[in-house]
Structure formats: structure tokens, C-alpha cells
Symmetry: C2
Subunit: 219 residues, 2 copies
């Protein structure tokens, strides 16, 4: 039995997307940090970090959403899976790249453009975060000019992982027109039927009260 | 021919370590960002992000240090490589975990404890970063109480990747005594002969001049 832990308004939507692409039956436990469920001793046995998502596949337990997706792709094969050692390496490269280069500045941009209450947004912070994102977005945009998907002609786990991290951009209404090829690819990925769980996500976050607390939240 | 790009005082030391563990001959090109080499058109053909390290293995090009190491382990096999699908998944999990949970707060802690000039350090920022690191460090410490290495009885690419990110702790003289099991494992990894390139690293970084610039550097 395969069990996915994590409310689908969290990073768990990334793994739900993969499970649906692979047409795998799974049990869903909507563990949520807001009600303390992620800090319960039983859940810490599944993921000692007290975060969601986590996967239990028989006796095997795994955390980190993008690692779970790479595991599921390899285990079940098919067109989403890497076809050889080099595709596998590139799928890992893009997963690590999106976490290193995109995830945190994108959250910070989204916070200052949308997720914070209007009077708590800071235009300088938003501009800085978008400037920072320009570097990886230019790389992605240029890469996709030569091929429709990250690894070539077909949609794979590499596209799923990178685009699922980037759901924050359309959710926060971030304008991606400057990177038109990337934007077109992103929406092509996110419009896949199996991806629909990200769409109803609506959340706000309170602005941390001090500059130090802002750093603590976003570093 | 295998070519490693990147001055060994950068994240390239992580890949040099892996190549030496595997006893692979390689050509080393010490591309460095300080002299503008990472922004040259020829280098951007190797890594469009303009960062080091990058690997060229015959015609195959790869960036992201931890992805390169996972690729090299899988390609060349031996005791460092994942032995099966589950070990492979766990090696990816730990690589993504260390980038998500440890790398940026550890750099911020190191900056405020050591890398910034003494009068530019901020004790509140250092304390915040160490508080933040307490969460992943407790997870790693507890995990290693039951097994000598991340995947079990032997040193693998998972240990190499996680410990190579953590070289910043001993470099900055960060006290890890609170997580004694983790500290003992870390030093056991970093004392391996193939790992020696991290030891001569000595660098300082200037404190960014404004709170916004601090955010820009560390988010």
C-alpha cells in the first residue's frame, strides 16, 4: 500500500500530481502543520523533520517531495521516468537546481506581491526577489527554446518537479511575460489534468514582525 | 575525458572529493567567479547558470554539485553507489534535504560567526541561524544513533553529499557538541583522504551594506 501524507495545499500537491500521472492507487492522509499533526510522535516516525509531504510505500519511508517523485518515476517507469543514466542525472540536476535557485526567492517574491496583506508588502523586497529570479528564469527560458520539455521531446519527472515548485508564480499572479518560452512551458505543464490540485490553493501568510524574523522565515 | 570545472575553494571541492573516492582520472579547469571566468560565453556553454562546479563527461554536461556526485556514483558503481532503488531514493532525499534545510542557514550562521569581519557580525543573526539549524541537526543526529552512515553500514554518496555541504561548520569553527553523534560522523567523513580539498579553504565575505542586501545574499 502506498500512503501519501500531507494536506494537498502544501508541497504534498507535488507528489499527488506524480501519483495521478502514474495512475497509482494511494491512500491519502491530509496531515497538516496548522493543527499540530506534523509534530505528533506517530508522524515523526514517518518523517522526523515534522514536515509534509512524506511517502510510505510498503515498509519504505521517504521524505522530500522532489526525491519522492524521482523515486516513483524510476520505480514505475513509463514515459515520465528517466530513460537512461544521463536523463536520470539531468532529472536530479533540475530538481536540485529549482530548490537552490528558485524556491526561496520565489516564495519571497510571492510574499511581497500577494501572500502578505497589502499594507505589509514591500516593493523593494519584491523587486529584489524578482531580480534574483531573473537569473534562473533566463536559464530556463533559453533551455526551453531548443526543446519543448526539459529533457527533450516528452514531459518527464524533471518537468513535473520544476513546474510544481513554480506553481507559486501563477498563484501569486507573478508576471512571467519577460520569459515567454518558460511561461508557455510552465502553463503547459500545470494544465495537465493530473496537476489540478495546485489550483484551489489560496493562502496568506503574515509578515514576520521584525527584519530578523523575515530572515528567519525566508533564509 | 572527464573535466571538472571550478576552483576547488568553491562547491567544486564536493565533486573533486567524489572523483578521488572513485579513483577516476579527470582534467581540472579551475574556473573562478572572481576573475569573471564563470561569465565567459565558452563557460556558459558548459553551465548556463554561470556557476561552478560543472562536469563534462565526454559530450555530456551536468551542473549542480550534488547531482554530479549522484551521477558519478551510479555510473561507476562500487561501495559508494546506491545498491538498489530504495538506497538511490534515500541518497536523493538526503541531497535535497541538505540543500533545503541546511545549506543557506549554515552559510548565514558561518557568516555571522566567522566569515564577516569581526565588527560586522551580528550575534542575534548568528543565534537565529543556529536555532534554525537545530531542527535539521537534531534529525541527522537521531538518524545516526542507529547506524554509522546515512544509508546504514557503509560510507556512500549520501554521506559525501551531506557532509561536503557541512564543511562550512568546521571551517567557521561552529560548535556542534550539542549534536555529538552527528559531529562524530561529520568528522569521520571529512577526514577521509579523498576529502582533503576542503581543508585549505579560507575565505571572508563582506557584510552586505543594507538589510535588503543581506536578504538578497542569503535568501
Amino acid at each position: 500500500m502506498t500512503i501519501l501524507y500531507g494536506d494537498l495545499r502544501s508541497r504534498a500537491h507535488r507528489v499527488a500530481w506524480m501519483l495521478k500521472e502514474l495512475d497509482l492507487p494511494f491512500e491519502h492522509v491530509p496531515t497538516h502543520f496548522l493543527d499540530g499533526s506534523t509534530r505528533q510522535p506517530e508522524y515523526l516516525q514517518i518523517n522526523p523533520n515534522g514536515r509534509v509531504p512524506a511517502l510510505q510505500d510498503g515498509d519504505f519511508k521517504l521524505f522530500e517531495s522532489l526525491a519522492i517523485n524521482l523515486y516513483l518515476a524510476r520505480k514505475h517507469g513509463g514515459p515520465l521516468a528517466p530513460a537512461n543514466l544521463q536523463e536520470d542525472a539531468l532529472a536530479m540536476q533540475w530538481a536540485l537546481w529549482v530548490v537552490s535557485e528558485v524556491e526561496k526567492p520565489l516564495l519571497f517574491a510571492a510574499a511581497n506581491l500577494f501572500l502578505f496583506a497589502e499594507h505589509e508588502r514591500n516593493a523593494d523586497e519584491a523587486a529584489m526577489a524578482m531580480r534574483k529570479l531573473g537569473r534562473p528564469f533566463r536559464v530556463l527560458d533559453a533551455h526551453l527554446r531548443d526543446r519543448p520539455y526539459l529533457l527533450g521531446d516528452r514531459f518527464t519527472v524533471a518537468d513535473l518537479n520544476v513546474s510544481s515548485v513554480m506553481t507559486l508564480a501563477p498563484l501569486a499572479g507573478i508576471d512571467l511575460a519577460e520569459w515567454a518560452v518558460m511561461q508557455e512551458w510552465l502553463m503547459r505543464c500545470l494544465e495537465r489534468p493530473a496537476a489540478a490540485d495546485w489550483k484551489p490553493i489560496k493562502f496568506r501568510i503574515p509578515r514576520p514582525p521584525t527584519p530578523l524574523a523575515v530572515l528567519e522565515s525566508f533564509v
